[in-house]
Structure formats: C-alpha cells, structure tokens
C-alpha cells in the first residue's frame, strides 16, 4: 500500500528524517511513536506532500508518488490530520466536510457527512464557525472528519487522541477501529499514549532523531532497550 525507501528530510542543519525505510500492507494499522521532535509529523508531511523530501522515494498503491502535489495525493486517497488543528476558516464544521468531500472524493453525499459527524460527535456543532468556537478536542475531531470526508484509503492521524482523558481515549480508539473496518482503511497513528498504541496497533514503528530504530509488534518494540531509553523511560514497566 505504502512504501518508503531511504527517505530523508533536512531543515538547514537539522536532520528531521534520516534514511527512513518501511512498507505497509493494505488494511494494516501502524503505530508511529518516538520522542518529541523525532520526526513523526515530518514523516506525515512528506507522505502527504506538504514537504518535499531531501532524498528518497515514496510509493503509494503500487505507484511512485514522485512530485505529485499535496492536493493530488489527497485525491489519490491519502487523508491526514494536523497535529495543530487547521480548520478551514470562514466555513462551518459541516461546510469543512463538504469541501473535503467535493474536492477530495469528487462527489457530494450528505448522508456520508451526517455519518461522519455522528461518529465524531460533532452533529451538535455542525453549523458552528469552525475557526472559532470549538474546544481543542472538538477541533481534533474535526481534523479527523475532514480526513475521512476525503474518502481516503490511507488515513494518517497525528495525535488526534492527545488531550483526551484516559477513558475517553479508549472510547475514541474504539471509534477509530470501527471507522477503519467500516471504510476499509489503512491507518498510521501517531500517539504518545502507550496503552492506546498497544490496543490499536498490531504493528509499531519507532523514530528517534529522525532514524527508524524499531519496527515490530508492540511487545517487541516496548521491550527494546533503545526505545525504553529514548522514549518510554521507566513508565514502560
């Protein structure tokens, strides 16, 4: 489904990604973890075409992504959220989803939008101005909503569960599972909460200083010495 080959990204002197290589199959859910500033968001930016990598190749659904513009990638089926929510200004919550669906999926279907709003608990807020008037977590839910409205095949979630209380997080995690099954999605999830990762993702990839340091099942990964040192600290226990 998605393959990265030797991808690097430099910002001036900072190497945010160094020779990252991994691939994932259709329907897989991948957890992406790593310390702050490890390059996770940068990886999303590279995959979704927000940034052009300094080196390396990307392949999606069997075809090289090349230099395809970010909006084209969305149409090809790559949906993503932003860690710092970026609602489309001047539009209501519902209109945000409508635009995403119309341009990303190339169709208009109010029922599916209702469905997404309902899934994300945003129905009550659908006519609210999206740029103002949403609490942080609601903005994150809207981020997920927009990405879903694009009707993607690959969904990339950047800390959408952050800021949720532990139990709520669990509930939202289950929602995501349902979403995935319902729409047959491949997912990459960035998340700092170890429990969530463990329950949600059969496979986990760990970045540290831009380098891929571990790739495996949660059990393997969280017992890896380098991961413990750089990321989980004592709390892994």
């Amino acid at each position: 489904m998605l393959a990265l080959d030797d991808v690097s990204m430099n910002f001036g002197g900072v190497a945010a990604l160094r020779n990252v290589t991994f691939a994932m199959d259709e329907g897989e859910t991948l957890g992406l973890i790593g310390p702050n500033g490890a390059g996770k968001t940068t990886l999303f930016n590279v995959i979704s075409g927000v940034l052009t990598p300094s080196a390396g190749r990307l392949e999606f659904a069997g075809k090289p992504l090349g230099k395809a513009a970010n909006w084209r990638r969305a149409r090809q089926g790559i949906g993503r959220t932003f860690q710092i929510p970026q609602p489309m200004h001047e539009l209501t919550v519902r209109e945000n989803l409508m635009v995403a669906q119309r341009f990303g999926a190339g169709r208009t279907d109010g029922r599916r939008i209702d469905e997404i709003l309902d899934l994300l608990d945003l129905t009550a807020k659908q006519h609210i101005d999206a740029a103002h008037g949403l609490a942080l977590t609601e903005q994150k839910a809207l981020e997920v909503g927009k990405a879903l409205a694009v009707e993607p095949r690959l969904l990339m979630l950047d800390e959408v569960l952050g800021g949720l209380e532990t139990a709520t997080k669990r509930a939202f995690g289950q929602t995501l599972q349902r979403v995935r099954e319902r729409y047959g999605l491949t997912m990459i999830v960035i998340e700092h909460d170890i429990e969530t990762i463990k329950t949600l993702c059969p496979r986990v990839v760990v970045l540290n200083f831009g380098e891929l340091i571990a790739d495996g099942t949660p059990d393997e990964v969280f017992n890896d010495a380098r991961v413990i040192r750089s990321y989980t600290g004592d709390s892994a226990a």
Binding site: W71, L91, V99, G104, A131, H132
Partner: protein
C-alpha cells in the same frame, strides 16, 4: 430566490435601464459622472471577486485595465476591428497578461498585492518604451467610439451608459454564480488556511489562477470600454493608480464580500465626491472624500451593504456577512502563519 427578492431585482433593473436614461438622459454631465462611476464599479466587482473569493488583495488592477484598453484600441485603430469584438479581445488580452502575473500567485497578502502593483508599473513602462506600437508617452488620440446596435447609438451618453451598466451587471452575475458554487466554498476556505484546504484535495493555486484570469478579463473589458468612451489613451492614464485605488475604496466602502457592495460603493463614493463635495469645496474636496472613507471604516467597517441591511433596506445573508469575531478572540491570536 424569494418572490420579494426577484421583485426588488426587477424593480432595480427597470429603474436602471429605463428610469435613469429618461430622467438624466438630457444631462450630459450627470450621465458622464454615472458612466465614470459605473466604470469604477466594473473594476470594483472584478477586484472584489479576486479579493473575496481568491483571497488575493491586488494593488495593481490598473495593469489589467490598461492592457485591456490598449489591446482594444490598437485592434480597432491598426487592424480595423469593430469596437465591440475588440473590447472582448481587450478582456482576453488582459486575461493573457494575467497569465504573466501568475508567478505572483505563490505570494500571499501584501506580497501578492505589491507584486501586481509592480506588474502595473512594468506594463506602463513597456507601453512608454514600445512607442512604435503604443504611441509612447504621447498616447493614442481620437480612438474610435462605439457603434450603433439595434438602433441604440452606443456612442451617445445614454448608449454608453446602457453598455457599461450591462457590463457591470454581467460581472455581478458572474461573481454571484461563482460564489454560490462549491468552488466558492473552497475559495472562501482557502483564505487563512490554504494548506488545510489543499490536503483535502482542493487545487488551491489552480482555483486562484482561474479567479485571477476571470478578474483580469473583467477589468480588461472595462478598460477597453473606457478607452473607446474617452477616445484617448496614454500610459500614464491607462495604468494610473486611480484605476486601482478608487475601485478598492469603492469595493470596501460598499462591502466587498457582497455582490451589490462594489456597485453601491462606486456610485456613492464617486457621485458624492464629484456632485456634492466638489460643489462645497472646489479645490480641496478630496479632503472630504478622505474623511468620508475613514469615517465609513470606523462606523460601518463591513461596508455600506451591511449598514443598509441594518437600517432594514436590504436583507443580510449569512454567507456574506461573516460574524468574524475580532481577531483577538481567536485562541492563537493573530498568529496564523
């Protein structure tokens, strides 16, 4: 559209097409002013389209105005084209010129605004330097006027009025249609959050480019109209900053997020200035004009249309009057990068 709205619209059209010529047709002076105001309105609509939908504030619409004027005038004078098709070609010329300005679409906010201004300057200087085609600084005199169509002499004041009125209304219809489409929605979404819009599949640069071309075309046609109406052209005049500044003032004054705002703004701003202020203060009347602009911004910052709406003359529309909270109220302040 409700019954009342279409009734209002019909009434307006009747007054505009029949009432005004009947009332003022004999008064050349008044008609000249109204024509000039409508010329400003035509540019103002085009500017508002780009500003409101494309999210691009241009400081250089004079560029398109001037190119349209020159293309049309030269086609008629040198190649013997009939005037009306030449005007459309003028619009086309401006649209093509706008393609040259497209690299500027990478820029945002004041950067874009100024880049277009730079183009206007460059076009002007080119018009001076290529004197063999354009007549140089001396310009073109005695440009042929409008023909007679269906028995209406467009070269007469009334004819010219009907022509420019039709142009302006057509542009307003285009503005309205685009704004109501899903394109309009996407275009509005882009303003402060272009990246967010792109990652859901909106080819924002393409959309903006289309808006730029459409806006340039509209402005070019109005420029061509002006050339044949004044029957004179020189670089200083054709690319004058006035063609940028007055329409902006008119559009913002009237409310550039509404379809009617630019037209109302142009009529009020221009006619008030020329008919009233000039009477009161023959030489310093611009001073009053300046005060008026300032006062309007302070008293009814969304423009004239919302003000009228508040007074109950027109009905406000949700999409046209966003209740944007003061920028301070947003969580991230004014720091949208």
């Amino acid at each position: 559209m409700t019954m009342m709205r279409s009734g209002l619209l019909l009434g307006f059209l009747a007054v505009a097409y029949l009432g005004v010529p009947l009332l003022f047709g004999g008064m050349d002076y008044v008609m000249s002013l109204v024509i000039a105001a409508l010329t400003i309105a035509g540019i103002a609509v085009a500017w508002a389209l780009l500003g409101n939908l494309g999210g691009l504030v241009s400081f250089g619409h004079a560029a398109f105005f001037g190119v349209g004027a020159y293309v049309s005038a030269l086609l008629v004078m040198d190649n013997g084209w009939p005037v009306l098709p030449a005007m459309l070609a003028g619009g086309l010329g401006a649209a093509i010129a706008s393609v040259a300005t497209m690299p500027a679409l990478r820029l945002r906010g004041p950067y874009f605004a100024l880049a277009i201004l730079a183009y206007a300057h460059i076009f002007k200087i080119l018009a001076v330097e290529f004197s063999s085609i354009t007549g140089g600084a001396g310009g073109l005199l005695s440009i042929p006027g409008f023909p007679t169509v269906f028995g209406l002499d467009l070269a007469s004041k009334t004819g010219a009025y009907v022509l420019i009125l039709t142009i302006v209304l057509a542009w307003m219809a285009v503005y309205h249609a685009i704004r109501r489409s899903t394109w309009g929605l996407a275009l509005r979404a882009m303003h402060d959050s272009e990246l967010a819009t792109r990652v859901v599949g909106v080819p924002s640069t393409h959309l903006k480019a289309v808006m730029l071309v459409v806006s340039a075309f509209m402005t070019g046609v109005v420029g061509a109209f002006n050339a044949h109406q004044i029957s004179f052209l020189d670089p200083e005049y054709a690319f004058s900053g006035t063609w940028t500044v007055l329409p902006i003032a008119a559009a913002i004054f009237g409310g550039y997020r509404t379809v009617w705002g630019p037209l109302m703004g142009a009529l009020v701003v221009y006619l008030l200035d020329q008919l009233v202020f000039k009477e009161i203060m023959p030489s310093g009347h611009q001073l009053v004009f300046g005060v008026l602009l300032g006062a309007m911004i302070l008293l009814s910052p969304q423009g004239l249309m919302p003000l009228l709406a508040r007074l109950g003359v027109a009905r406000p529309r949700r999409e046209t009057a966003p209740q944007a909270a003061a920028p301070h109220a947003t969580e991230d302040g004014n720091a949208r990068a």
